[in-house]
């Protein structure tokens, strides 16, 4: 079937398109304009509307054991639990797998990456993703606190052996990339260490966070995994120490690609009478100058949320600020983790400055293809706040109004009031479409050129950018119209994008023995068989680099 999206303002930076034109989709794939004589089977009039590829979120915690624990911990988040559902701060939170898929699609997002899948929770994460409708999904598997990797580094094993282990982990867990979270930090916390810097050494192993990060960065490159190592740095949220940690990590990229997650949480200094200040400007300058590095923001927005992280050390420390005052801390194999509710308040100097630091970073990092649009859902804010963030980036008048409502002391501590930049539609499309596809190595999406998947978002432009991005006029997923006027009209299931590296058979044998001897577990339990998910074609395999 041939569908024609007719006469819209097509914004497709990957193909240098920024003007009125048509987009054609045939059998789920974008195609060149057909011969004039051929009539489309379906025509969607996009006159006056903005047409982009489906948006891609590279870092959003939407599935897995920790996410599910957060649902358990916060039943009051769910609207049905509330006596006044329409009036609660969280009534719009996409919280179940069902809501996650629908709410993302309504905003024009068609691919979302779960960025922290523990190898032992891989099947669980994929089961949740299989129940998440409409959108395509992907996962990053977490390494860097696991005994075997640390033991291999300690023993001086070869790069090839370590790469084989990483390859096995990616293949068995059906991941699209690799993440390390406070590398060595959870392992150190199990030894009762309460602060862990980039050059600190994990007790017993004698390996530093830096060594672990560099080892994984190298393995990812060796394996040709398109997405660079995705790093959650040490000392998240600690004034001064956080900014030192990210600076050291950026400098350690040493010319090879590295992605740094939710950098807003590392933009904190110790200046001022409250010993809490913005280092956003300095951090943005460092990112601008370090071309091999990409970042996402982790923007904070105001209201109740919950933080979910495999950074057990920092989550344990943060549990003292839990609001409401409860948290769940895990000690699992390799990674631990923590689920800590958080209520970011407009009246709080600290929370308001966090908000400002996030926007400083968005606006001061010059290249929109190296900075990615995230709230670290739900850690900085639920993904349902995205429309407001688009408005804040695209309209300095909106920023001024928000700043006006914050404590006066905040404006003095941030460069935000002086920043005049407003993101253009092209920059938004780069940041949320073209660049994420390149970063993830998913060339089949993020653009509207021939051969791309038929994932298209159509918006009704207007002065109110939040309204524009909250309710897409149309969304097509693989060529099917799934959203009209901000409401889902067709429910279907997307796929999980995975890599499929082929690890050495000797590594499988070694891991069979290792998991059995050390943990009393079968290595097969870490696998995600295709047939286990109960969906037709649950995966789409993406190529590794040659």
């Amino acid at each position: 079937m041939l569908t024609r999206l007719k006469g819209g303002h097509v914004v497709d930076p990957a193909n240098d398109r920024d003007g009125v034109g048509d987009v054609f989709i045939e059998d789920g794939t974008v195609v060149e304009a057909p011969a004039p004589a051929r009539e489309a089977d379906e025509t969607i009039d996009c006159t006056g509307l903005v047409v982009m590829a489906g948006a891609i979120d590279i870092h959003s915690h939407i599935a897995g054991g920790h996410v599910n624990t957060a649902r358990l911990l916060l039943p009051e988040w769910h609207r049905a639990f509330s006596s006044r559902p329409g009036e609660t701060a969280l009534s719009k939170v996409g919280w179940t797998t069902e809501e996650t898929g629908l709410r993302y699609a309504e905003m024009g997002f068609t691919t979302v990456v779960e960025p922290a899948m523990a190898p032992s929770s891989a099947l669980h994460a994929h089961l949740e993703l299989a129940d998440t409708p409409i959108i395509d999904k992907a996962t990053l598997v977490v390494l860097g606190n696991d005994d075997l990797l640390l033991e291999m580094i300690r023993a001086g094993e070869s790069d090839a052996a370590i790469a084989d282990y990483v390859s096995w982990t990616v293949a068995s867990s059906r991941a699209l990339g690799v993440k390390c979270i406070n590398a060595g930090g959870s392992a150190a916390f199990k030894e009762n260490v309460r602060k862990f810097d980039f050059d600190d050494v994990v007790p017993d192993y004698g390996v530093s966070s830096r060594q672990i990060m560099k080892t994984l960065q190298s393995a990812v490159k060796t394996l040709g995994i398109p997405h660079p190592l995705h790093v959650h740095c040490n000392n998240l949220g600690v004034p001064g120490a956080s900014s030192d940690a990210i600076e050291a990590t950026i400098k350690a990229a040493e010319g090879d690609p590295l992605h740094l997650a939710h950098i807003q949480f590392y933009g904190y200094g110790t200046e001022g009478k409250r010993r809490f200040s913005s280092r956003g400007q300095k951090l943005a300058e460092l990112v601008n100058a370090t071309k091999e590095v990409t970042v996402d923001i982790g923007q904070v927005m105001f209201g109740q949320t919950v933080t979910i992280s495999s950074d057990e050390l920092r989550q344990f420390a943060g549990a003292k600020q839990a609001s409401p005052g409860k948290s769940i801390i895990f000690d699992h194999e390799a990674n631990g983790g923590g689920v800590v509710p958080m209520d970011y308040k407009k009246k709080s100097f600290h929370n308001a400055l966090q908000w400002a630091i996030g926007l400083e970073l968005f606006l001061l990092i010059e290249d929109p293809s190296r900075v990615f649009f995230t709230t670290d859902h739900p850690n900085g804010a639920p993904f349902t706040t995205y429309p407001d963030i688009f408005a804040l980036l695209m309209d300095r008048g909106v920023r001024a109004r928000w700043l006006e409502a914050l404590p006066k002391s905040v404006a003095k501590m941030t460069s935000l009031p002086e920043i005049e930049r407003e993101y253009t539609l092209g920059e938004i499309a780069t940041m949320t479409r073209a660049a994420p596809a390149r970063l993830l190595g998913t060339a089949d999406r993020g653009h509207l050129g021939a051969g791309a998947v038929g994932d298209v978002s159509v918006y009704r432009p207007g002065d109110d950018k939040a309204a524009m991005f909250a309710r897409a006029a149309y969304v097509l997923k693989d060529g099917d119209l799934v959203v009209r006027d901000g409401a889902v009209v067709k429910r279907k299931f997307g796929r999980a994008l995975t890599l499929r590296p082929e690890p050495d058979k000797a590594m499988q044998t070694r891991l069979d023995r290792y998991f059995d001897d050390k943990y009393g577990l079968s290595s097969r339990w870490f696998e995600v068989p295709e047939g286990a998910l109960g969906r037709e074609e649950p995966f789409k395999v993406m190529p590794c680099r040659a």
């Binding site: 911990l73 669980h124 199990k190 839990a322 409860k326 769940i328 009393g520 696998e527 109960g534």
Partner: protein, 370 residues
């Protein structure tokens, strides 16, 4: 091979599905319970409840609720068994149920010693039980026993917390020396593991145990290992949480998932005072359930056991997930879901297949009515 019955008499699968669909279509308050099935079966059970406007619960959720209620009200410290096998140098066994329903876990810990951590490896693993019964561990591994009835354990742990916090401790049921012994045992651990069954101590007791772990973590490392009698109920609760936002005891009677731990409890609904007027009971894992609903509630039974058709209005015989067909099951030893291959492949239908067919039946009936 007979696989379907109506009023105890053999019927074709189609006839039985039609009869079950009619029964569900007329129900004012359907209940889908039992829920002893794999992930595919639980997913299909939710779909059926959604279509039927029904309640969903696991028949044994009562054993979980002390944990669920305590964790969501006050938080928790939770560990994976594999990690504690490698790291825990001291194990506190709380109450009598770990020795029965957690015997495998205790055996694993007794047969191994910690090999990770400067603070925890090297000195072996010590066990202490605060329980009524003495705990016998395999291989002659010794466990110190402090005699304490279940009713007194929660008080004892409260006093241990007070002692650890430097607060005054009154004379309790077990005496100050016992309090001191337990406090020292835990606080001097490199990594302490506290094993208990939430159903033995209820919500308040469970909260006390999580609170003890939290207190210990201010100065050392500690966590808890839960033992539950029905791990598949825990799996169903996890699945219910991602599907509906709530850990079972949910209803779709008013067009969206609602949660009420008392009203939508399977035990209450199956009892005479329960509003449920038709019960879909799923018992499709190896080993038969013993808590089938009473005959006064018309029941659609989906069971893997033989000889379970009596008393059911409509009955289906299905394969047991993980035995007769592949399935994904919650594995307590792993602490998460595991894909499990069938021991021998059977031609029997799956519980998920029957539940999906029933959901389709309801959809067709609704279309006909329209």
């Amino acid at each position: 091979m007979e696989t379907a019955w109506i009023d105890g008499k053999p019927a074709s699968l189609e006839e039985a599905l039609r009869a079950a669909g009619t029964l569900l279509g007329k129900a004012r308050q359907p209940l889908v319970t039992g829920l002893r099935t794999d992930v595919a079966g639980v997913r299909a059970a939710f779909l059926l409840a959604l279509r039927a406007g029904g309640i969903v619960d696991h028949a044994k959720s009562a054993g979980l609720y002390p944990f669920i209620a305590a964790a969501r009200d006050g938080g928790a410290f939770l560990a994976a068994p594999g990690e504690m096998r490698r790291r825990a140098d001291r194990v506190l066994i709380v109450g009598d149920e770990p020795a029965t329903i957690g015997a495998d876990l205790l055996r694993m810990l007794a047969e191994t010693t910690p090999d990770l951590g400067v603070r925890s490896r090297g000195a072996g693993r010590s066990f202490m039980a605060v329980s009524r019964q003495t705990v016998t561990l395999p291989g002659g591994v010794e466990s110190d026993h402090l005699d304490c009835a279940s009713d007194d354990v929660v008080d004892l742990l409260g006093m241990v917390r007070a002692k650890l916090g430097g607060r005054r401790v009154g004379e309790g049921a077990v005496g100050d020396e016992v309090v001191e012994t337990v406090a020292r045992f835990l606080s001097e651990a490199g990594f302490a593991a506290i094993i208990f069954s939430p159903s033995e101590f209820g919500e308040i007791g469970t909260e006390q145990i999580f609170g003890l772990a939290e207190d210990l973590n201010q100065t050392t490392r500690a966590s808890t290992l839960l033992v539950v009698a029905d791990p598949d109920a825990l799996g169903a609760a996890l699945q219910a949480t991602w599907t509906s936002g709530f850990p079972l005891r949910i209803s779709h009677g008013r067009g969206e998932w609602e949660h009420d731990p008392a009203l939508f409890s399977s035990e209450r609904q199956i009892a005479k005072e329960g509003e449920a007027d038709v019960v879909v009971y799923v018992d499709a894992l190896a080993g038969a359930d013993t808590s089938l609903p009473p005959p006064e509630k018309p029941t659609i039974l989906i069971a893997a056991g033989s000889g379970q058709t009596s008393g059911a209005k409509v009955a289906f015989k299905v394969g047991a997930a993980g035995r007769d067909h592949d399935g994904v099951l919650y594995n307590a030893r792993f602490g998460d879901f595991v894909a499990t291959s069938a021991e021998t492949k059977s031609e029997l239908p799956t519980a998920a297949g029957i539940l999906d067919a029933l959901a389709s039946q309801l959809g067709e009936n609704a279309e006909k009515a329209a």
